[in-house]
């Protein structure tokens, strides 16, 4: 059930990224790009799933993409103008959904809005709009400590999307969730993607099912075996185009015939790493 789509301008470039920590190569030669996907009659962002075994360097790649760390080599370019990434330019939703515990939900959103130069009144308007969009109106005056895990995740995402950003990074958004909650988060991410054509969402995860369900592209991060047993840094060893396979934007993707075969392929590639 492949949908018609076109790949247009580049929105995210990872250009030969290299990073070493304490003399150990963590990432080397990480290169990839994401193009603007357009579909007739549908406003649609891009969702990339980054899969990799534990300890492979996903967190370090996440930090490079967010501008929180700088690579030793290479660069990350974001947006239609392909500007070098700087911290604050991209939305970052960390695994534990950190929020300012000393502010209410509304104030958390307003702090993020004001950080981008909005006046207090504009920030309040934007914050209220995000509360409505993410069904959080009832939590507006609540402190983060009183929120459920799901509400906290929605506030964390809303805070990052309160101003238009070219890239939304999410670290393990499915971690510790049951199947029903994973589906709920996938639906939320799909909804976010449908509202922001130029938004690229990069989801770093080890949940193959969830990544296959929501992403249109998969990057498999791994450490290729070097001759002589020398340790090399991790890089994107394989890219799977789920649009081409008819698995992107599929209403019932888990029951699509290609789903299981793609899942097996990913598992086999992992095993070979």
């Amino acid at each position: 059930m492949a949908c018609r789509y076109e790949l247009k301008e580049i929105l995210l470039t990872l250009d030969d990224l290299g990073l070493s920590l304490g003399g150990k190569a963590i990432l080397s030669g990480v290169s990839a790009c994401v193009r603007n996907v357009t579909r007739p009659g549908v406003l649609q962002g891009q969702i990339v799933g980054v899969l990799g075994p534990s300890g492979v360097g996903k967190t370090q790649l996440f930090r490079l993409l967010s501008g929180l760390s700088h690579p030793d080599r290479g660069r990350v370019l974001v947006g239609a103008k392909q500007q070098p990434v700087a911290r604050g330019d991209v939305g970052v939703v960390a695994q534990a959904y950190p929020l300012f515990e000393h502010y209410s939900v509304l104030d958390n959103l307003m702090v993020a809005a004001r950080q981008h130069g909005l006046s207090k009144a504009e920030a309040r308007t934007q914050a209220n709009a995000m509360l409505a969009r993410f069904a959080l109106q009832e939590c507006a005056s609540a402190y983060p400590a009183t929120l459920s895990g799901g509400q906290r995740q929605r506030v964390a995402i809303a805070q990052q999307l309160i101003r238009p950003k070219p890239l939304l990074l999410m670290d393990e958004p499915f971690s510790g969730l049951d199947l029903a909650m994973v589906r709920e988060v996938c639906a939320l991410l799909a909804e976010i993607s449908l509202h922001n054509e130029e938004l690229t969402t990069v989801i770093v995860t080890h949940d193959i099912n969830a990544a296959l369900s929501i992403a249109d592209t998969l990057w498999l991060l791994g450490r290729p075996r070097a001759p002589g047993g020398k340790t090399e840094g991790a890089r994107i060893v394989h890219t799977i185009d789920l649009m081409e396979r008819g698995l992107a934007w599929h209403p019932d993707v888990m029951h699509a015939p290609e789903f299981e075969s793609t899942k097996r392929e990913v598992e086999q590639r992992f095993a070979a790493l």
């Binding site: 929180l68 960390a94 534990a96 400590a145």
Partner: protein, 267 residues
């Protein structure tokens, strides 16, 4: 059967149950006290008589208010100094200062009192200085430990929102730990209140409850000593309660955080 539940390990109790248990223990202590009065331990009636004498003949309230004022001044000084020393440690140039001042808690109090006497010439200033010195070392050490354990994710979160490092320091280091700062202030207030009688016994000008206590000790008036100790204990508890209420008003989220993380043990 219903009382047996209070000797089950790890059983969660409600606040009402805890209050009831507290009242039972207090009643038991009072009964035990009333029935064990001797030459060493004055009876409750003797203590009440001594308390009346302290209030109406020896100006207990005037001494008490002087002590409270001294303690409050010292607490404010210790709080301000500790905050300045620890929060300025976000700037590398100032980092050694908080380490140095924190280590001064190992410096002998008696030797310091001589130097401070020469410096401040006595009076309330000297008492405040001694108390401030006594508290600041511990306050700084506690606050430094709080700042040291702020996870990197908190800094990253603020930075990812595009905040500059000054704003990160304000939101994460200062506002993000102000609930813990008030907790430390509460602990140090208790310590200062305990140190106060000793300092007031050393520096007797301007009076204070420590002066009264030293006078009664000189005359071995055990009933008055017990009465004063009870007053010191009660005022200390009230002070602690006031600081806990201040935290509830200034940092309401901190209370929610504790409730969220605890398992209902109202300890």
């Amino acid at each position: 059967m219903s009382f047996l539940r209070f000797i089950e390990p790890n059983r969660v109790t409600s606040r009402g149950e805890l209050r009831m248990l507290g009242a039972v223990w207090l009643g038991a202590l009072l009964i035990g006290w009333a029935n064990s009065a001797s030459g060493v331990l004055p009876s409750p009636a003797e203590v009440m008589r001594a308390l009346r004498s302290l209030i109406f003949e020896q100006g207990l309230f005037a001494h008490l208010s002087s002590s409270l004022y001294t303690s409050l001044l010292a607490l404010v000084w210790a709080g301000v100094l500790s905050a300045l020393l620890c929060y300025s440690a976000v700037l590398p140039a100032f980092r050694p200062l908080s380490t140095l001042i924190g280590n001064l808690r190992f410096w002998g109090f008696a030797g310091v009192s001589v130097a401070f006497t020469l410096w401040f010439h006595g009076g309330r200033e000297l008492k405040v200085a001694l108390l401030t010195f006594g508290m600041t070392g511990f306050f700084v050490t506690g606050l430094r430990d709080e700042l040291r354990v702020i996870p990197r994710e908190r800094y990253d979160y603020a930075r990812a929102l595009g905040m500059n490092e000054w704003r990160v320091a304000w939101e994460v280091v200062i506002l993000g730990t102000c609930d813990r700062f008030l907790d430390l202030m509460r602990q140090n207030a208790a310590m200062g209140w305990m140190l106060l009688t000793m300092v007031e016994a050393l520096v007797r000008s301007d009076g204070g409850i420590g002066v009264l206590l030293a006078n009664q000790s000189k005359h071995l008036d055990l009933a008055s000593i017990a009465a004063l100790q009870t007053v010191i204990f009660g005022v200390g508890l009230l002070q602690d309660l006031a600081l806990a209420s201040l935290k509830r008003v200034l940092c309401p989220w901190a209370l929610l955080k504790v409730e969220d993380q605890s398992h209902g043990l109202p300890l």
